[in-house]
Symmetry: C2
Subunit: 356 residues, 2 copies
Amino acid sequence: LSSNPASDAALRVRDLGEFGLIERLQARIAARANVRFEPRARAAAQQLGTLELSIGDDAAVWRPRDAERQVITTDALVENVHFRLSTTSWRDLGWKSLAVNVSDLAAMAATPRYALITLGLPGDTLVAEVIELYEGMLDLAEKFAVDLIGGDLVSAPCLMLNVTAIGEAAGELLRRDAGKVGDLLAVTGTLGASVGGLRLLEAGRADDAFHQSLLSAHLRPLPRVTEAAALVEAGLRCGMDLSDGLLGDTAHLCEQSRLGAVIDLDAVPAHPALQAEFGPQTLPLALAGGEDYELLCAGPAESIEQAQRLLRPLGTPLTVVGRLIERSPGGPLVRVVDRSGQPVEPPNLSWDHFRG
Amino acid sequence: LSSNPASDAALRVRDLGEFGLIERLQARIAARANVRFEPRARAAAQQLGTLELSIGDDAAVWRPRDAERQVITTDALVENVHFRLSTTSWRDLGWKSLAVNVSDLAAMAATPRYALITLGLPGDTLVAEVIELYEGMLDLAEKFAVDLIGGDLVSAPCLMLNVTAIGEAAGELLRRDAGKVGDLLAVTGTLGASVGGLRLLEAGRADDAFHQSLLSAHLRPLPRVTEAAALVEAGLRCGMDLSDGLLGDTAHLCEQSRLGAVIDLDAVPAHPALQAEFGPQTLPLALAGGEDYELLCAGPAESIEQAQRLLRPLGTPLTVVGRLIERSPGGPLVRVVDRSGQPVEPPNLSWDHFRG
């Protein structure tokens, strides 16, 4: 994108998109951080812990002196942008809003500990609905021993939620920037169930018992906290959670690791309930549908095999779907190939907040 | 308020108000925390740090094993609820959104370290304005050595900001619940400047050079980070920052300390620029105007005097404005008295988000 000041003055957020805007802001933040800090304040900070990982991964990481790493992430959900009260109950919304943040902690292999909840609400919201929202958060919080330790409650024109979750990492991290050429790419569980469930909900089929697994994948995703610990134990160091779809998130991992990737179309583990309902759309949904909250990891074959052994008692499959390669200049970050190795045109379903 | 299930079903957020709703949610959270956590998850968490302070103070506090206390706070700002773009520039808005969170860390006597920024924006927002917003945050961040380490960027129907700030406390904390009967109550700086500045802005007098100190108190408040460290060094352990006005915040402190308070009207240090502009409204503004971001503390006379000595080189006055007393059943939490000790009817300007 141009950095011509004249054209920049008229540039709107939707022209840059979510990721373009983040890139610009990140550049400004980097330019002004640290060196320009007020000397006395910097000196006080330097006697305390150190920042290990900032913008660009699933969460940020700092380490207090002589202590475990602290991992933090935040996510916002806005009514009619991220969810509709016509297709989710307040309780499911509560579960999911905390689950997606806990999933970002799992994506770093951190143990979730605390959460802060900011809630923007119109004044005529029913109190009983707000309580239900919190009950849903607490359903999830109880499963992962998360304490809700604070937040803010404000008046707003529509319902909006901002959840901040904090974890501690006693072991090594799963980072997006730790991929190496030749690493295998693997995913936990199956893909596409969440977007399949969303389509059923939008079609008014919320009570379709046959597709309960798709609906619950969308409404009550289960973050892969235990699985992430197993990946690290198996020696894996590169990974993230899948929120934007396998293709989009593999691209994010490639950007951070400064590599490219090849995905084997036939290896992608689509959720088994998709085929009956969505037929030929099954693989596109599994490749590009978002909000699966499975883990994507990269590492040598031995570590992947060891992780598969450790995940067996949990009943969670870990499927190799491709590998990391050198980035080819001018080519796409992620290539999808069929069983004969021929390139396949990937479906473009990935989500950008300002481009839709 | 009634807890009759039939009437509860129709209760709306505005009926309970911000603090009533927080109380209900806090009760649910307390009922479900810890004991109901999944045993395996609880066991994993217990090997890590411990939660020291949850909902109810200016910030939450946990302590990783063998490390300094970690302090976290979060605050949301919604367009046309907390600010209007007609009375603030994007840059000032950026400064203030981070400043109010850093002030909450100062309120605990923590050293600010990190911040996460969630931004909800309409897609047609100018990129240059978003950059200006961040420049304002970075202006403040540089002063206090704060790293912006993450956040989220989402599409929303109006501008909304959620800032989460993290600090570390190497020394003791300033807590709201540490007040004792007989403690003197004291405030740093002067009061009422911010609400005075807001009234000038709303009257279209943003360029009134004579009242620059009022305008900048409202638009670019300076959190009392260094002052808070001095208060703790002087032996004070009870304190908070003033965001809801002296009367409202003294009530919050009394609630947490389970005490009452008496404020001496004549001792309240109103900002010197208020009198000329606001005449007889000066004391009401100083008592009940919000967003001063000064510190309110409570402690024995010797500690207050020691704090006054330590604050002198910083040029910050610390003024005794009253004292903590036993709570009188049925009476008001905070009484205001004149110089003869007679009760004065306090002005009610304190802010509740859903009652306005």
